[in-house]
């Protein structure tokens, strides 16, 4: 009875012919060759086919296949600076985008709130309120003589030191406007009593009673109250300009290096 050979048998025959099977497989296969005439016949046919193929004449190249410079694209010379310029340009652009987005789109991200704050009326009023609570109101000395003007300054707007005359709106917790109040020019008059005026934005202004030599003077805000509109620590616009120039410059250098061959 003939035993039908499988694909594994054919693979084993091929591997045996090419000396590509293990020692164990080789021993088993040689044993099978002795016992199975069908396997032996296919083995001989494969061996014969292989020998025929290996005997095929070698076709030599009919011509020289060497490449000529005219047929070959010139391989560009690589400058070590070119990739560095590429990277620098890319990095500058990315930084520019980040800073631009941070300063323009998300102003709170990069500490640029100081810049925005200086242009915002609401922010200004909030700052004034903060300043009032910390004891730095704008005080305009006015009216009668007395020694309470300095006291008014130190009392943080609690009535201006005129004999306890105060107003509920003059409490330290109320906001004080940063803009000058719309009051008339200083008029020295003993008839005028200290009063608290309301500014247009609803905040209060404290009018104190100055000494005689101080009457009619406008006391400027204290140095502590100067950071009303503080400058930003770093000029972001300048950084943006520098980064833009860097990105363009690096990109141009990279392009020039790429063109040079």
């Amino acid at each position: 009875m003939k035993k039908k050979l499988t694909l594994q048998d054919f693979q084993l025959i091929s591997a045996y012919l090419d000396d590509a099977c293990s020692a164990k497989e080789r021993i088993l296969f040689e044993k099978r060759l002795q016992e199975e005439p069908e396997l032996n016949q296919v083995f001989l046919e494969f061996s014969h086919t292989r020998r025929l193929l290996h005997a095929m004449p070698v076709r030599r190249a009919p011509r020289n296949f060497s490449l000529s410079p005219s047929r070959v694209p010139v391989r560009p010379r690589r400058f070590f600076l070119a990739p560095a310029m590429n990277f620098a340009s890319l990095a500058a652009v990315m930084l520019l985008v980040v800073i631009f987005a941070g300063s323009r789109l998300f102003p709170g991200l990069l500490g640029s709130q100081n810049t925005a704050e200086s242009f915002s009326p609401m922010a200004a009023s909030l700052d004034s309120a903060n300043r009032a609570s910390t004891g730095a109101p704008m005080i305009i000395t006015w009216g009668q003589s007395g020694s309470s003007a300095p006291q008014a300054t130190t009392k943080s707007g609690l009535g201006g030191g005129n004999g306890g005359v105060s107003s509920s709106s003059a409490q330290g917790s109320n906001p004080v406007p940063t803009a000058p109040p719309t009051v008339a020019a200083p008029m020295p008059s003993a008839a005028i009593s200290p009063q608290v005026t309301q500014s247009s934005d609803g905040s209060s202004l404290i009018l104190g009673l100055p000494a005689a030599f101080e009457q009619g003077k406008i006391i400027s805000p204290t140095p502590e109250s100067q950071p009303l509109a503080p400058k930003p620590a770093v000029d972001l616009t300048l950084i943006e300009i520098i980064l833009s120039a860097l990105a363009v410059g690096c990109a141009v250098i990279a392009l020039v290096l790429r063109k040079i061959r």
């Binding site: 014969h48 095929m56 410079p69």
Partner: protein
Amino acid sequence: MDEIALVNAALKGELDAFNQLVLAYQDLAFNVAFRILGDDDLAEDATQNAFLSAYKNLRMYRGGSFKAWVLRMVTNACYDELRRKQRHPSVPIDPGTDDDGEEMNSDEWLASDDPSPETTLEQAEVEHALQHCLEHLSVDFRTVVVLVDVQGLDYEEVSRSLSTPLGTIKSRLARARLHMRDCLRKFEELLPAEYRLEDEVRE
């Protein structure tokens, strides 16, 4: 010949260095291309394209057997030529008529009908029969047979050249040899005595 040094020089733009590699492998490349394609002109085109592609993609060479890498370029170029041939099949100008053999209508027979001076008639007949059988294999089987049995590469080299697993190479080779055996049976009367199978098998 220090192949790595030549490759490095070629990478720096020295075309002469690459051409030394071309000279070293052009016979191998052309022979493989011819056995796969079965046509001199197509094999020339494939060989030239393979070397051009090798030069352009030299940076992709990651060491190892340069021969296997070149053969990958050659087989890829052959596949491209075969695809192109399938899209634009060529018609022989004079197909000819024969009285006794249908195979004479094949342009492959006509193309290889002129043996070189150093080739004997017997070898030519064997070659014709083998080439005919090769061309009746699928291109994947044909490539493996050409690389292993005609060129004598080992399985690992073929696996690297074709980027195909070793087991697939073994399987394809076994099937291809089986097909070749069946095909060559039709040509036994053409083969010289020393190439005849029946005497060996039926002894």
